[in-house]
Amino acid sequence: MDKVLELSYALDTFYFLMCGALVMWMAAGFTMLEAGLVRAKNTAEILTKNVGLYAVACIMYMLCGYGIMYGDSVNSFIPGISMLGMQDNTAQAVLAGGEDAPYYSNLSDFFFQVVFVATAMSIVSGAVAERMKLWAFLLFAVVMTGFIYPVQGFWKWGGGFLDGAGFLDFAGSGVVHMTGAAAALAGVLLLGARKGKYSKDGRIQAIPGCNLPLATLGTFILWLGWFGFNGGSELKISDVGEANSVALVFVNTNMAATGGLIAALALARVWFGKADLTMALNGALAGLVAITAEPLTPAPLLATAIGGVGGLLVVTSIVMLDKLKIDDPVGAISVHGVVGIWGLLAVVLSNDDASLPAQLLGIAVIFAWVFSISFGTWWAIRKVMGIRVSEQEEFEGVDVGECGLEAYPEFTLGVGRTGTTPAQAAPAYAMRAHPTKS
């Protein structure tokens, strides 16, 4: 019997770690999606932001985020604060059995949670792409991953008052996705649209992404990672009931993505006259976000429909935000925010324990918290160091301005055109990157 308990502990821990690794890989998905949907001259910088934010998120969550979210709290509103330790469960505690016995490693829980924080932060980078200063962004990431995210995470998943109020969010349509989108919205409002996105007479000018194969690869990577995101959030796989649940979560997650993709593709075709691939990609992600709040109780057909509604919403929302001059190059606010809200509301369709008032309360509280604190943080950063690159730098591309290099030096008609190879063009970079130095 001891051996069986130990094995099931090992299996649940292993499952948790593997799901965490899948979610970690979503960082690659966001990175590729964003790299594909920005212009070539801003590619290297968005890559830098993505690797940078991932590292910042992990360090901040270790230092204080995890402690805020899951440590001892003052009450159900005010979390405590502590650093990640290395204590883990003893074999004795595990073998004691019963309801309270731990069934997976503490550190596997940290690993699974930390990659969620990075996901929320990745959402922000896409929305503010092509015009935000690299270091202002990373500074915001410190506050977001160390404080803003963990506090609302504590209110729900850490056993705070939202959890007590009956607010349901299985894997994070609200806690992760809407949170990322609300922070992004606050940033975009203070940042303004990309130069050239709106003409002087107010018309919307499309700015096509530079690499749709990368955007498509990124979407598929996110889709794969989402099985860890939702599947892992079941937290256990080691008995028949749990194993079946995990399988249903996998199936529903996959079906919702397909529903979202088809709905968005079809709507784009009918509305714009052509099958816009980028909308189809956003549609798949919208389906995934929509099902994340409750992938366990819907039947697969309902999951497909929930995803499908997400796909319709995302296309409409992207067009509407464009009209409102909220410039979001990759559609992150629509995919994760608008559809995240839809996902939280859709919980009541299949889960009898859900109530609409509780869902609305959760949406309102999380949005108000994240949006207001993020807005204040962005505002403070803007005061101190500025959040937007200079106009000159924006025209030349933030790759050269912020990173001193280009993603594709031999293809673009950017600064690198003075030489055909990076080596030849290097003096030109240095010159243009620091125009004030002679």
Partner: protein, 112 residues
């Protein structure tokens, strides 16, 4: 001698090359270019927003030919590049004053 500048759709480059090679034209300079003609580009939709493609990608081919061959070459090139649709391109003919082959120092017709 004449310098013939041919601007065609990228997918027609190989046909055009075959057409003038038949007349013994032994060299050509090919450049990827962008431009517009009477139609002035066209418009597309990206994520719900219309945008105009003002400069279409084309390929510019420059060849030097003997005066006697010029008309036949142009005829063959036009025959190879024409689809009858908008955007087939242009041919410009200019007088070529002198030509030199750098390696051997040959000048005039021998150099083209």
């Amino acid at each position: 001698m004449k310098l013939i500048t041919i601007i065609v759709n990228p997918h027609k480059v190989e046909d055009v090359r075959r057409a003038f090679t038949r007349f013994g034209v032994s060299g050509a300079t090919v450049t990827e270019v962008k431009g517009y003609g009477r139609q002035r580009g066209h418009s597309e939709v990206y994520r719900g927003a219309e945008y105009s493609v003002e400069f279409r990608p084309k390929v510019k081919i420059e060849i030097g030919v003997h005066d006697d061959l010029c008309e036949q070459v142009i005829e063959a090139v036009i025959d190879a590049a024409r689809t009858g649709k908008i955007g087939d391109g242009k041919v410009f003919v200019t007088e070529l004053e002198q030509a030199m082959r750098i390696r051997t120092g040959e000048i005039g017709v021998a150099a083209i």
